[in-house]
Amino acid sequence: MRHWIEKQRYIIDFTISSLLRRKVKNFGLLALYTLIVFILASTMFFTYSIKKEASLILKGTPEIIVQKIVAGRHDLLPVSYIDIIKKIRGVAAVESRLWGYYYDGLVSANYTLLTPPGNGSSADHSKSSAKTTVVESESGGQQQADKSKPLFELGGAVLEPGTIIIGNGIARLRDIGKDDYMPFRAFDGNVLNFRIAGTLSSQSELVSSDLILITGEDFKKLFGIDNNYVTDVTVAVNNPSEIDMVASKIRKVLPEARPISRVEILRTYDSIFNWRGGMMIVIFSAAVLAFVIFAWDKASGLSAGERREIGILKAVGWETSDVIQMKFWEGAVISLTAFFTGVILAYVHVFFTGSIVFGPALKGWSNLYPNFELTPFVNLEQLTTLFFLTVVPYTVATIVPIWRAATIDPDSAMRFTGE
């Protein structure tokens, strides 16, 4: 065993010296190989972590969302639909949502305006609103007054008419904060000024960066929405296994409605960064193409210098198996070095620098982009997949043509001068 190890060490010594004799070519190859591993590993770490995070965060989304579709587009939903949906067997609660978009020309950014559940929506038919933090504005039983001024509290910020709670991305972009005023141009051209009651935490930017929480009353005033309409409704189902059944019943009772189930939402985020889609396939194709070029370069034959080297080695007593071992180590030295460097750099890139290389592509044309730190969901399975995708093909591609060259006669190998 000791003898075998010593032999391998001598072969590795020779292989590395041989690689260093062709410094420019081999360092170029190593740099390119490392870059490919880096891109592949970064893509894998980023997509896996964001998918996993999405599945954990979005598990609390509504069981069913019901939209109204008019001419193929999402339209406002009449409040009367709520009672129709409530009558469907299996439905536990129906709650309306008021939300929409606002384009801020000052910073060219889109915001999402949302009314917190139970906060001034015209029709809240929820049976259980215990999960929302709703605080009544007045003490005592003045139900009528309370109805018009319910309060919503989030992290110490109290939402009441004339105030908003903004996401951290907006606060950063506009350089505003608590107690500042933010103007909005309403549907009728009037300017409405809202006081910022607080900001959502920076930790939650992945879901709340562009959010503006506003009372239902102000929302309707801003967009001119009639009291008889809401944006969409959420439906809670008694038995979770009946979600699909309830969704199909809603579709049957209200043909113009489009129910979206929680499973569909989760599935959307599971397949959003799928390798088959868009830029992902471009990245993977580039990587695969680069490997094909490597393999082609190796498989299409050796250079005259390499052939002569093999001829001399065989002439001085190296056996065919020794030459193959040498070439195996050549492939292993390059691919293992590229693998470890590329994977470590990719980890640092994705989880310590916030995917700085992907940033410009992910931001696209939007001015408002969340600053989020991904939780590193990395496991041995991913590393093994990367290893088999990168190290194994290259090492195999190095050995195969050598088999041909190593079995030829040393005399003819040394005489061969053509490239």
Partner: protein, 109 residues
């Protein structure tokens, strides 16, 4: 590292240098896996905070791309998203090239 250290590295065999590099790579990668494991548990409260916000506000999507409404709320996108502006209008937002249409749209009836 003194002169003696430099000399020792200079006269070290190539195979030893290679194995030192690979061993340090394996150690570093293992440390990163340990970092991932501990970060996952350390960030649990942050994940819970986000999940709580989603549940409380009845949110449906991650705030990844704010440039278009169908990229901001990917799961709520219109069924005609690909041609939303007019019948010959193709996808033009960069983030559209990263994401796939929602599962429900791609599903054949």
């Amino acid at each position: 590292m003194g002169l003696r250290g430099f000399i020792r590295i200079a006269i070290m065999r190539n195979s030893s240098l290679f194995f030192i590099y690979i061993t340090s790579g394996v150690v570093l990668l293992s440390l990163l896996l340990v970092h991932a494991f501990f970060s996952e548990s350390a960030r649990q409260p942050v994940l819970e905070e986000k999940a709580m916000l989603v549940k409380m506000l009845k949110l449906t999507d991650l705030c990844l791309f704010t440039e278009a409404r169908y990229t901001r709320h990917l799961s709520q996108a219109d069924l005609n998203t690909a041609f939303q502006d007019h019948p010959m209008s193709l996808e033009h937002f960069p983030s559209g090239s990263f994401t796939q249409p929602p599962e429900s749209i791609r599903k054949f009836p």
